[in-house]
């Protein structure tokens, strides 16, 4: 934050005055009520207003026109997803300067997509990449390097370019929320800057243009006892993470992809009498922004982390295993060995000619996006990553029931007892801020007690994630 002591627009006496009242940063000056500053500095409010005006004028920013913005070299760009249909659905591909969330069950294919993006970003601009490198932040486990190699060798764009590999994928561990916040606020920006610095003398160095977080939801599971994290803290963590991501993506023209988990979606009893002059019912609204509805059964799952997190992102992409099958025709490269991959995906040994087979297909839905309309497509996971399928023609409709439980991964439900009370999204209430110093709001001694308490509660954990303590007046 800009320190006022070294601010060029202020006179020495003004600086001294502010120092006396302990107004040290720009934020202090701008966001504290002028009356309060005046009192602390022991001067009249008029003097403070004058100082504020001087400083603000010094920070006056002339807003460029779109013409000026787009004709000058800029950091806006789009990276291909490696699949033409998916690019179209996304509005051209993955754009920089925004936060994309990819949410879904385990083994739906989100990691596959993210791994391939880490390669595609390295492609030259002409080939659809951003000529950049990737930072892959992992909460647990290690980067599946052999899978990455396989994708780079099999995907047509990547294989033919020969430009993309593991060297330009930088892994960083983020085993906890604190780690993630530290990484995003300090280590990652430092790393990015260092790369830019090195690039000045060595143009082969690729600047960071993609950041992947794999996976955010994992960090918000209850880890051990819940007493250390208050509910306010959780929401603040989400806000902080989001702010750092937005700042980084804008400042450096980065594509930010955050992988997230799903939880089982429960039908909440929604009260029929909704007071139209007050607000919207959470139970009703969350259905539409947390779940996808393009196929029966797709809405069995919803994105975790509730409204607090949903408010942070610019686009939400949901990937589901649906248990459906479709006839597909593939043309595959001849050299493809059967492999059991690290994460359990099979690839088949397929001859080079076209083969029509009944494949297990998955569903990708764009639940919302600031740069494209909602939409859905079918896809399968293969050696090239993920590959989309054409829109289904009516006679091709598979007769498999969509709720075949055997082919669906077990739901990744968050443990009710430990998360629910602590995930109320603190938004604008002051009491929460003031209460941080007082004793913790909940300190469950008995886990079982909390279990049974929440069992009977109508209000779900997602609701808690979104509720504010002190609504604005």
């Amino acid at each position: 934050m800009v320190s006022l002591a070294s601010h060029t627009a202020l006179s020495a006496s003004q600086k001294a005055l502010l120092k006396r009242g302990q107004i040290t940063t720009l934020s202090d000056l701008i966001l504290t009520p002028a009356q309060d500053i005046a009192r602390k500095c022991r001067v009249s409010p008029l003097e403070i207003t004058a100082i504020v005006d001087v400083v603000c004028r010094d920070h006056f920013i002339h807003a460029p026109t779109l013409e000026e913005l787009l004709s000058a070299p800029n950091l806006w760009g789009i990276c291909t997803s490696g699949d033409v249909r998916l690019d179209a659905a996304l509005g051209g591909g993955f754009r920089t300067g925004m936060i994309w969330e990819v949410v879904g069950e385990s083994a739906a294919g989100k990691t596959q997509l993210a791994l391939r993006m880490s390669l595609l970003v390295q492609l030259s601009i002409e080939l659809g990449g951003l000529a950049g490198s990737a930072c892959y932040l992992l909460t647990s486990g290690r980067l599946p390097t052999s899978r990455i190699l396989q994708i780079s060798q099999h995907h047509p764009l990547l294989a033919s370019s020969g430009q993309c590999g593991l060297d330009d994928i930088h892994t960083m561990p983020i085993p906890s929320i604190d780690f993630l916040v530290q990484t995003l606020s300090r280590h990652l920006p430092d790393f990015i800057e260092r790369k830019l610095e090195l690039r000045k003398t060595d143009s082969s160095i690729r600047p960071i243009r993609l950041v992947v977080i794999d996976a955010l939801g994992e960090l918000f599971h209850a880890s051990g006892k819940t007493s250390t994290e208050t509910l306010v803290q959780r929401a603040q963590n989400i806000n902080d993470i989001s702010t750092h991501l937005h700042t980084l993506s804008s400042k450096y023209g980065i594509v930010v992809i955050v992988l997230n988990e799903v939880v089982d979606a429960f039908e909440r009893a929604s009260n029929n009498e909704e007071d139209p002059t007050v607000g919207l019912t959470y139970a009703e609204q969350s259905k539409w922004f947390a779940r996808a509805h393009s196929l029966p059964g797709e809405d069995r799952k919803e994105a975790s982390l509730g409204l607090v997190w949903a408010n942070q992102i610019n686009a939400r992409i949901m990937m589901s295993r649906t248990g459906r099958r479709r006839y597909t025709t593939f043309i595959r490269p001849a050299t493809q060995k059967r492999q059991k991959l690290e994460d359990g995906h099979d690839t088949r040994n397929i001859p080079a000619e076209d083969t029509e087979r009944l494949e297990l297909v998955r569903r990708l839905s764009i639940v919302f996006s600031s740069v494209s309309n909602p939409g859905s497509l079918d896809y399968v996971v293969d050696s090239t990553g993920i590959i989309s399928l054409e829109e289904e023609k009516p006679f091709e409709l598979a007769n498999e029931p969509t709720t075949a439980s055997s082919s669906v991964a077990p739901p990744l439900a968050m443990p009710d007892s430990q998360i629910a009370p602590l995930d109320i999204g603190f938004a604008e209430g002051e009491s929460a801020v003031n209460d941080l110093s007082s004793e913790p709001i909940v300190a469950p001694d008995d886990e079982d007690e909390w279990e049974s308490f929440w069992e009977k509660d109508e209000i779900t954990e997602e609701m808690y994630l979104a509720a504010s303590l002190d609504p604005d007046k």
Partner: protein, 313 residues
């Protein structure tokens, strides 16, 4: 506020009925005609039975027959004549139900807040309004607080309009401090603009987490800045805001997570303090259906006027 002057949009009637009545110039229960004329009105405006019942029972008061009543001898045609004196130019939001709610569109010099959940069309509508102004040859200052308005995407949306690139100025705001300095400098702007569009004005607040008194001070300052530029330069203002969930008890009081039976209600994050209240339209954009996989149609949204603020200028 007594029953007779109760605004129509606080009644549980469908948005289409509300739109039809508002368009015809009726704003409050006071305005509605009684008995026979009411039936004629209902027929002519095609108000569904349920809604007409609501209107009928709501307007039955012991001392009805105030100055707002129209004599029952008037013809249906004259009942539809516009009572309003609104003459300001209107800019379409390219969303027919919202245009209807606003009686034709956003009035020039008006103020509109759109708040809604993620995925609601509030951001899309903001860009639609920007486009409306571009089509009219007006200039716009677009302030992007949460990366929702990608300039390349915006450019693509308006490729058919050659002057768009010159007319739209774009600014990113990254923190509450930046937002407040921007507000402070609003009246300083050497280049004037006709529309001020602020996307996600609520976002900078969530990270800064000001104390209650600081927050109120900041919201007041925003109100002053917006009022000043709106009145002195007739700048039209449109802002979008996110919602936050508050827990409401059965009896309507604010609850906390200990309250039994409390339900979650989503309300605009910043409240109304920051808006020049006399003029501002505050619209809640609700999601009311699944996204349709036809590529063109975006999420179904419905609109409702939130606060009982007097529409029209």
């Amino acid at each position: 506020m007594d029953a007779q002057s109760q605004h129509l949009f606080s009644l549980p009637i469908p948005p289409s009925t509300l739109a039809a009545l508002t368009k015809a110039g009726y704003e409050t229960l006071d305005d509605l005609p009684q008995s026979d004329s009411a039936n004629q009105l209902i027929d002519v405006l095609n108000i569904p039975f349920g809604a007409s019942q609501t209107l009928h029972s709501s307007s039955q008061r012991p001392n009805s027959g105030g100055p707002g009543n129209l004599p029952s001898t008037q013809t249906a045609a004259s009942l539809i004549g516009s009572i309003s004196k609104r003459k300001s130019r209107r800019f379409t939001t390219h969303s027919p139900p919202l245009d209807a709610l606003l009686d034709g569109g956003l009035p020039e010099g008006g103020i509109l807040e759109l708040s809604g959940p993620p995925g609601s069309s509030k951001e899309r509508i903001l860009l639609n309004i920007v486009r409306s102004f571009v089509e009219a040859g007006k200039s716009i200052l677009l302030v992007d607080c949460q990366d929702m308005c990608d300039p390349c995407h915006l450019d693509e949306l308006m490729t058919d309009n050659l002057s768009a690139r010159r007319l739209v100025s774009y600014l990113k705001i990254g923190s509450l401090t930046e937002l407040m300095m921007f507000m402070n400098n609003l009246s300083l702007c050497n280049d004037s603009f006709d529309l001020l569009a602020i996307s996600c004005i609520s976002y900078p607040f969530q990270n800064a987490r000001p104390t209650k008194s600081a927050r109120n001070y900041i919201l007041e300052k925003i109100k002053q800045a917006l009022t000043k530029v709106n009145i002195s330069q007739n700048v039209t203002i449109v802002v979008t805001s996110q919602l936050v969930t508050k827990l409401v008890n059965i009896d309507g009081t604010t609850g906390n997570f200990d309250s039994v039976g409390a339900k979650g209600v989503m309300v605009p994050a910043l409240g109304h303090v920051y808006l020049p209240s006399a003029k501002a339209f505050r619209v809640l954009v609700a999601l009311n259906g699944p996204t349709l996989d036809t590529g063109e149609i975006s999420t179904t949204s419905s609109f409702r006027l939130l606060a009982p603020l007097k529409p029209g200028l």
